[in-house]
């Protein structure tokens, strides 16, 4: 099975983030600062990462999220492990 495209990964991340934090999907954009848009702290961001790991069936060490604050960069980190 070939890996999904980055756009597809990004879209799934936005869907999951909207679902997990109960915000309308249309309010989330790829370059948004997710701390700000979702109103979350770094621990809640780690929680989101756990959800994403389950969804994509990958394991990302915490340090992969260090310095990442927008959905697009997050998608790139995940894509690299798919």
């Amino acid at each position: 099975m070939s890996a999904p495209t980055i756009d597809h990964t990004l879209d799934e991340i936005l869907n999951l983030a909207a679902l997990h934090f109960k915000v309308p999907r249309e309010e989330l954009a790829p370059d948004d600062d997710f701390f700000k848009t979702l109103g979350i702290d770094s621990l809640q961001a780690l929680d989101l990462l756990t959800r994403l790991e389950h969804h994509f069936r990958i394991e990302l060490p915490d340090y992969e999220l260090q310095g990442v604050s927008d959905f697009r960069t997050l998608a790139n980190r995940i894509q690299a492990r798919l």
Partner: protein, 569 residues
């Protein structure tokens, strides 16, 4: 515990600890739910000795500086022990800093020897400033097979056979250089002696003792003053066990409490609040009848623990809550100056004592601590044994600047006599924090004199350190301040950085400028970002050499603008 009066250095005390409790477990390392390492004191010694010997062979000498940049793990402590054993000065650096910041502090501390995790080393080698790195020996942990280490050695292979020799140090010799902040322009390297640590350890364990069988969950970074003391030195000199968790995912942190039946843990306010949120959500899910019973039991527990904790009673009254924390938790340790008192009270009311205290790197670890006789959520406790605390120039309400004198206080800031002279005056450390003593001798912190904020994650952020990120912002001039510095308030919290902007005479604030400001702000780590901006309509006062007179400008802004004028970004 060891009688620390007998020891002149951390190296000598730790060496004896390894021999005193050979069969006790000293270290457990888990990654998520997988246990990776479990060491007794004897195993620890066996792992450290070949490294100590290799350091000897590498001509590592007394007083040589050695930095560690690692997340919390067993190799952190094994490396630190080996550095102390070999007479070295430890420079524990925050692994969350950027590679450029690491390089800056390595240069400032004149470090000869570095231990670093592979992913952090990779970032350092990719920095444009890498060529300037002057460290002689670099040991990289957990590097994948075949990785190009750019001249570094593998930690796992840097070993020699034979019995190493303990390098003696005196009490007044430097043990650590710990950076309290200042990666921007002026690194603040607190020089702490062996005497500072041995004294601090003695006074802290007098109130919160460790013993063989105690398990401390280490999730604050070990480079941080609190975890270094209560997640390494304290447990080791008492034969206790440190549990490292290589992830901060809340679900695994919760699991670790139960799996390892944790006795103590240190937390930053953010983690504490996360735990509180989780518990409150669980309570809210209860059916009304069960909720009613829970509330009554909490009420009863509150009554029974009003004067002092009775952990055994609380465990019987609220077994499910205590089981969720492993059932053996004795206290949560919190740098509580900046934690909501309601959060602290929430845990105490459930029968989980909170050792809430106040400290700063300049004072080694802690200055005051709650002795739980009784618990007071509204204070940061009483001065530790051997620590004098005084309030300078108190006002009518008894509020003054907190000053500290003790053997634990740092000796000086590395290579900065001017800053040292401003900070340690006639033997008293001026903290820049404002406080008062209440009737029972507890310290209450009420604000800050200095231009800085402390985040919920426990990070000190100094505006001077982050200003450079706004270089090139197309405005006449700008400056960053802590809002509470511009508009002092007699409460803590609500801490935010403000970007003060002076436009060109003909310039108007528009969306493009706003976008640019946001983009530049995003280049900062999330916890360092400014929270709002303020447009200022006068030129900034400057010195003859054109430096902004920050103090003067802050007074002008404080008098000429209101906090409500700050626009959130």
């Amino acid at each position: 515990m060891l009688d620390l009066r007998q020891y002149a250095s951390l190296g000598a005390a730790l060496k004896d600890a390894l021999e005193r409790w050979p069969n006790e477990t000293c270290l457990i390392e888990a990654d998520r739910d997988r246990e990776k390492v479990r060491l007794t004191y004897s195993d620890f010694k066996e792992m450290a000795q070949p490294l100590c010997r290799a350091l000897e062979d590498a001509d590592f000498k007394a007083g040589d500086r050695a930095a560690i940049i690692m997340t919390n793990q067993s190799k952190w402590l094994i490396s630190a022990y080996s550095i102390f054993f070999s007479g070295g000065v430890l420079v524990p650096l925050d692994y969350k800093l950027t590679a450029a910041e690491h390089l800056q502090l390595l240069a400032h501390s004149k470090t000869r020897f570095l231990v670093v995790e592979y992913h952090l080393w990779r970032a350092i080698t990719q920095s444009p400033e890498f060529a300037k790195l002057a460290v002689e020996i670099v040991l990289v942990t957990e590097a994948p097979a075949g990785a190009d280490l750019r001249g570094a050695y593998r930690w796992e292979e840097f070993r020699r056979k034979g019995e190493p020799r303990l390098v003696a140090r005196q009490r007044e010799d430097t043990a650590c250089i710990v950076y309290s902040s200042g990666t921007g322009g002026r690194p603040k390297g607190c020089v702490l002696t062996h005497d500072s640590y041995l004294e601090q350890c003695t006074s802290l364990t007098a109130w919160y003792p460790f013993w063989p069988g105690v398990r401390y969950l280490s999730i604050l970074p070990t480079n941080h003053a609190i975890d270094f003391m209560v997640g390494f030195i304290g447990p080791f000199i008492c034969g206790a066990c440190v549990v490292h968790l290589r992830t901060l995912r809340p679900e695994f942190v919760r699991d670790a409490f139960v799996r390892y039946r944790i006795t103590y843990v240190s937390l930053v306010p953010m983690v504490l609040k996360n735990l509180e949120r989780g518990l409150r959500a669980k309570f809210d899910e209860l059916k009304p009848g069960k909720r009613w019973i829970l509330d009554r039991l909490i009420g009863l527990n509150k009554m029974l623990t009003r004067r002092r904790p009775h952990v055994e009673v609380s465990r019987r009254l609220l077994p499910q809550v205590h089981r969720a924390f492993g059932g053996e938790l004795l206290a949560l340790i919190v740098g509580g100056a900046f934690t909501d008192s309601s959060t602290l009270q929430f845990f105490y009311d459930l029968g989980i004592p909170v050792a809430c205290g106040y400290g700063l790197t300049e004072a080694c670890t802690a200055v005051t601590l709650n002795d739980l006789k009784p618990f007071r959520a509204d204070t940061v406790g009483k001065p530790l044994p051997g620590t004098e605390v005084r309030l300078l120039n108190p006002d009518g309400d008894g509020i003054g600047e907190v000053a500290v004198r003790s053997r634990a206080v740092m000796s000086h800031y590395l290579d900065d006599p001017e800053l040292t002279a401003q900070t340690i005056v006639e033997g008293w450390l001026l903290t820049g924090d404002q406080g008062r003593f209440e009737a029972h001798g507890h310290l209450q912190l009420v604000g800050r004199k200095k231009n800085m904020i402390v985040t919920e994650g426990g990070k000190n952020i100094y505006p001077e350190d982050i200003e450079a990120v706004f270089d090139g912002l197309p405005v006449k001039e700008y400056c960053v301040f802590a809002a509470n510095y511009l508009w002092p308030q007699k409460t803590l919290g609500n801490e935010v950085l403000v970007l003060v902007v002076r436009l060109e005479p003909s310039q108007r604030f528009d969306d493009r400028l706003r976008e640019e400001m946001l983009a530049q702000n995003r280049r900062l780590a999330d916890f360092k970002r400014v929270g709002g901006y303020l447009l200022w309509e006068k030129d900034f006062p400057r010195t003859a050499s054109l430096k902004i007179k920050r103090g003067e400008l802050a007074l002008e802004i404080g008098a000429g603008a209101v906090r409500a004028g700050v626009v959130e970004i």
